[in-house]
Amino acid sequence: MSEIPLTHILFLSTVLFFIGIYGLFTRRNMITMLMSIELMLNSVNINFVAFNKYLYPEKIDGIFFSIFVITIAAAEAAVAIAIIINLYRSHHSIDVEDATEMKY
């Protein structure tokens, strides 16, 4: 069984990252935006794990960092959902275009 080369995995993570960015900029629904951010975070995780496995298989730093990122992502999701719920209570909508009062 031949090994999957590193470039394939990096290609996957890059695609995932830009799908995330695309989603963040084009979606108006905040839940979808949150999901896009999660995509970006996870693409980074893939990079961490892949570099760890291919370049320094004897170390665990990459795995270590990816676990950190997962933890942060969980906290960030909690905060973001709290913000979304509050926004819904005050605006009856979770569309970012409806919440643009904080301007000049």
Binding site: L24, V96, E101
Partner: protein
Amino acid sequence: MSHPIYIALIPLIPLACFFVLGLFGRKYFTNSAGIIGTLGLLSSTLLSLVTAYEYFFVSGKVNAIYQKIEVVKYTWLEFSPGISIDMGILIDPITVMMLVVVSFVSLMVHLFSLGYMKGETRFATYYAFLGLFTFSMLGLVLSSNIFQIYLFWELGGVSSFLLIGFYFEKPSAVAASKKAFIVTRFADLGFLIGILVLSFYSHTLDFGVLIERLTTTNSPFLIAINAASFLGVSALTWGLLLVFIGGAGKSAMFPLHIWLPDAMEGPTPVSALIHAATMVVAGVFLVARLFPVFALSNPDALQIVMYTGAFSAFFAAVIACTQTDIKRVLAYSTMSQIGYMMFALGVSKYHGEDGLGYMGSMFHLFTHAFFKSLLFLGAGAVIHLVHSNEMKDMGGLRKLMPITHISFLVACLAIAGIPPFSGFFSKEEILMASFESNKLVYAIALLTSGLTAFYMFRLYFSIFWSKEADTHYAHHGEGTWSMKIPLILLAILAIVAGFAPISSLITADGNPIHSSIPFTFSILPVSLAIAGILLATRLFKTSNELPQRIAIQLGGIYNAAYHKFYIDEVYLFVTKKVLFNLVGKPAAWFDKNIVDGFMNLLAKLTTSLSELIKGFQSGKVQDYALYFFGGIAGLIIAFLYLWK
């Protein structure tokens, strides 16, 4: 002086009354405020009397000379070694005398106000202000530092402002209080500059050191201040004259007197306290305090003090003859009597028997405080009954108010200088002193004393005789006992104060003077006074046409005097026409167009710039995210390719 604490208490008790009544008076002491204030002042008065006894008869004398004793000295603000603003207590004969006078007259006024101000809505506030004033006046006379005296001086100005404007719903009272404040403040500017000049050359602010440095012949300080000159006049003369301007403003000397007649808008007991007996003599006190410097080092400045005083005395007496508002007559008479005190200082010298003028001035200050406050309180009682200040609304009141009548008569005799009332003795000393040193001033003084007798008896007859009283006053009664007791006490003092042994207690150099006025010297002034009284009796005892006819005969002079020689109009012309148009308006134009214009330009620039860039702050979260990522991308590019 072994117990300095109780001397410090003399001014502090009225201060405590001020705080208690000012902060809590309107809520908790609406009715008892008067009692609290009066009791506080009573304790201050008793302490003053104890201090006076201690000083004059027990511990004040060293080698038969009364000493200046610095009881307390606390360095408060030190600018440089030697120059500091201290809070101290300086005890010397004039301080002790002023303590007694101020606290006693203030006590009488507190007592009188119990009846006079009864039922006022701001009764407690009134007593709080009285307490503040008494504190500042007592602090002023006790000051040991020239800057400390300046602080209390201004505090006196403030409390005078508050009390003149006590009836602040009356526009005239508001105008009068503003006028008094601005005029005296203007004069105090002179005082402040004078202090700076004197302290700059003598390197001290302490009275004792200052006087010593500026009077010792050949001291380096005296040489320096005499050597420096401005416009051909030495710095010492300038300093003393500027200090005197401050004193002249407070003591209503010509031409800074214009605030005093208007100050009569305040409640009458206040006029008795502030504008007759105590605050207005602060200027005399100040000159007396610095008298050694005036007399020993700079007789030129003293000459100016003398001529200002003499002119004011005569000028005010002439105006007083024509006024119809009884309080204004008394105000001009106050100005005239203070003029007496000033020129008495002016004719005096420092040493021994030549210091007669100084002694006479302090003596006159002492007796004047009693009979003038008595006159004002009597006028207050009359106004309380009649509800008017105008002479034409009065007349024939002698039967309705016997006690007021008798005490007022006593005061009139005292101020006219009829023996054996107190004014006679003090006025004789002053006349004697001026006779010995300057015949012109003596002539003015004599003439003024005749005029004084005339206008005081014009006042007396217009109030108490002239015509039958309106019957509807009869049921009203003379006033409460709290109003009568001060009148009686002050009348007694107006009779006996002349026998006080001032000549052996208060002198310029501390040595007693054995003054003996020859009997023949008294004949001329007394007969002039009697002539004045007789003339007033002829003209005003019964109402007749004669005063009217004389007024018409005198024509222009009468009119000029009636309009106070148009001094107010001159001031108005100078301020409104000259100052406002030539200085005020250009300054206002500069401020509106140049200063404001520059600021407006800056604001406009900021606005237009922000118009351009405010679109970035759109409120859309995704825009912000775009800037963020764009920024990161930009930085990455910069680091990768440009910065290698």
